[in-house]
Subunit: 360 residues, 2 copies
């Protein structure tokens, strides 16, 4: 795999630092709170990074802000501000629509029929145009066609350095609030979030490595199988509670596949049942509505630890609970990872009909 | 009404400042986030102070922390640390139990039969002893009896300067995060929260007055009628969605009745239906589960503004939306209050069975 310069530490440090300023103009600086319930269950300190409190209800606002603010800054030299087009399972589209309205840009969002009505309605309310396609991969193709036909700038949902650096700003905030962080768990689909957080940890984090686990659902294992195969693969799309993680990574993936492959300590899978349990857990224990895509990371932690009362947590016994998850990188060298004493879970989004949480 | 020195500005400033240090040892510094949905609805800036993110799920942790940390600090000179006893609709009891466990103190919590099971279970899990009584007023009497019989220190849920100063620390945080705040809306029952926040605004806030509105439910109007009567009154307890606000203020009220009377711009009432709508609103628009007691303040704001699309918000037309609420102080001098451009709503707690929000 040739290293064509994208891995340059200096460049990514500068991109992340610049992203921080742009993102701060639009997105919230979200809180990191301790989770007594998860800490007790795991036998070690667990903290929640609450991206659910972003104005659009998900972390996707960061990448969209970085990309579009940068575009708007350069637009005066290009004449009138251009419009943008994107494809999305909903959260990225809503974020692009939100930032576009703030900046006075036209926005077109291509979506599949699998996107929940609550997300479509939010995008419409922000004044963006919706274009429908059968699947997420079809929505991506439609996005490319509209860009060419109408002269719109494509805002890729993950495979773009500006998007990656934008999502990485939440990693910078984690390091500010909890410099002693030893592990971070994030949902994993296209890999923009994991790449951004991984770069933040690598270039701004402590000298010791911070464990970084990506969690996908069994019904959306494109990145998981791509990492295992050593190259991007495609798989048929399946419906999942984690609707925001549905879709491929692109056979022509330029950035996130390689970044995830180098930055992730492991990539693991969770079942639909585990996701549903995690959604209920978050509502009952923290009063937080989280969507299925966000619940994957919580689900992995819950799967890694026995319910309270059924035995001593692994961590208390000196075993790393995260290594009990079945990952794609069991062969990574160095033996069992140490028990992380401070784990951060990124709670990525809240855009779900609450009736889906309690009805299931 | 004689002023027996309790109103001394110097004393309350010192109490609040000291409380801040003690509370920081136990409670979270909670975030203040903008509410795009409420801001749009009101036509003015609305922010949420998220006490739902406290480890015990409510702001009550602040007062309990201030009281018990102070007690523990003075305990060495008293021999072995004493136990504490309290009465509560649940949140204060859970907070006392949480702090007592952290400090190694015995805790007894007297509760009525109206306290929801989810709150009783949380108190039990923290290792506190529960004592049951038919009503909240009976629980208060039981608390006094147990204190005498067993030599326990009473931790009053609101009518105590340490509790008031502890709750006031959230007012200090609001001023730090949004110095331009022009109005604060809080749920109102015993008045500890309103008193603490009002003292913080008065002694640490801007020279111009900040509007401070307390919101009770129509089914829990003891403070409302006491303010109107000019002295504490009693009323029969009624079941309400706002279970945490049930109970009297005490005919022998020493602190909060007078403080609320002097510090509140107004005290208003909301219906059970308005509370239920506010709970659904918060879950759908912010992904936040809020209990009925917390929802009263949101309900007042929603009642003060028409649903989006049904007309121009009052604020945009130069009318103060808060004055459309029917309050106890319509006769307060000075004419209509100016439109607040930045309103903070204190979201006090999240301890409710989520099925109650969606089932109603």
């Amino acid at each position: 795999m040739p290293d064509d310069g994208f891995w340059s530490a200096g460049c990514w440090s500068a991109e992340l630092a610049a992203a921080r300023g742009r993102v701060a103009r639009i997105a919230a600086r979200t809180p990191l709170i301790p989770s007594p319930a998860l800490s007790e269950r795991l036998g070690t300190g667990v903290y929640l990074k609450l991206e659910t409190l972003q104005p659009t209800g998900s972390f996707k606002l960061r990448g969209a802000a970085n990309k579009l603010v940068r575009l708007a800054e350069s637009a005066p030299s290009l004449g009138s501000p251009p419009g943008v087009v994107t494809f999305s399972t909903g959260n990225h589209g809503r974020a692009v629509a939100y930032v576009a309205r703030r900046l006075g840009l036209r926005a077109v969002v291509c979506v599949s029929e699998g996107v929940p009505p609550v997300k479509l309605e939010a995008i419409r309310r922000l004044g963006a145009e919706l274009a429908m396609a059968p699947t997420q991969d079809d929505a991506e193709a439609l996005c490319a066609r509209l860009a060419t036909e109408q002269g719109l700038v494509v805002v890729h949902p993950f495979d773009d350095p500006d998007i990656i650096a934008g999502q990485g700003t939440l990693g910078l905030e984690i390091l500010d609030d909890l410099p002693e962080v030893e592990a971070v768990i994030v949902p994993l689909s296209g890999g923009g979030l994991l790449s951004g957080v991984g770069l933040a940890l690598r270039h701004f984090g402590p000298p010791r490595p911070v464990q970084l686990i990506g969690v996908s659902m069994e019904r959306g294992r494109v990145m998981f199988h791509s990492l295992r195969a050593g190259h991007p693969v495609t798989l048929p799309e399946e419906p999942s509670l984690a609707d925001s993680l549905v879709g491929g990574i692109g056979l022509d993936n330029r950035w996130t596949f390689r970044l995830v492959g180098r930055l992730a300590t492991d990539a693991v899978l969770v079942s639909e049942e585990a996701i549903a349990r995690a959604m209920t857990f978050m509502l009952e224990e923290h009063g937080l509505l989280v969507e299925g895509g966000a619940a994957t990371a919580i689900a992995a932690l819950l799967e890694a630890a026995p319910p309270t009362g059924t035995g001593r947590p692994d961590a208390a016994a000196g075993r790393n609970p995260l290594t009990s998850l079945r990952g794609v990188f069991p062969w990574r060298p160095g033996g069992p990872l140490p028990v992380p004493r401070r784990i951060v879970v990124v709670v990525t989004g809240r855009n779900v009909d609450p009736r889906r949480v309690l009805g299931g």
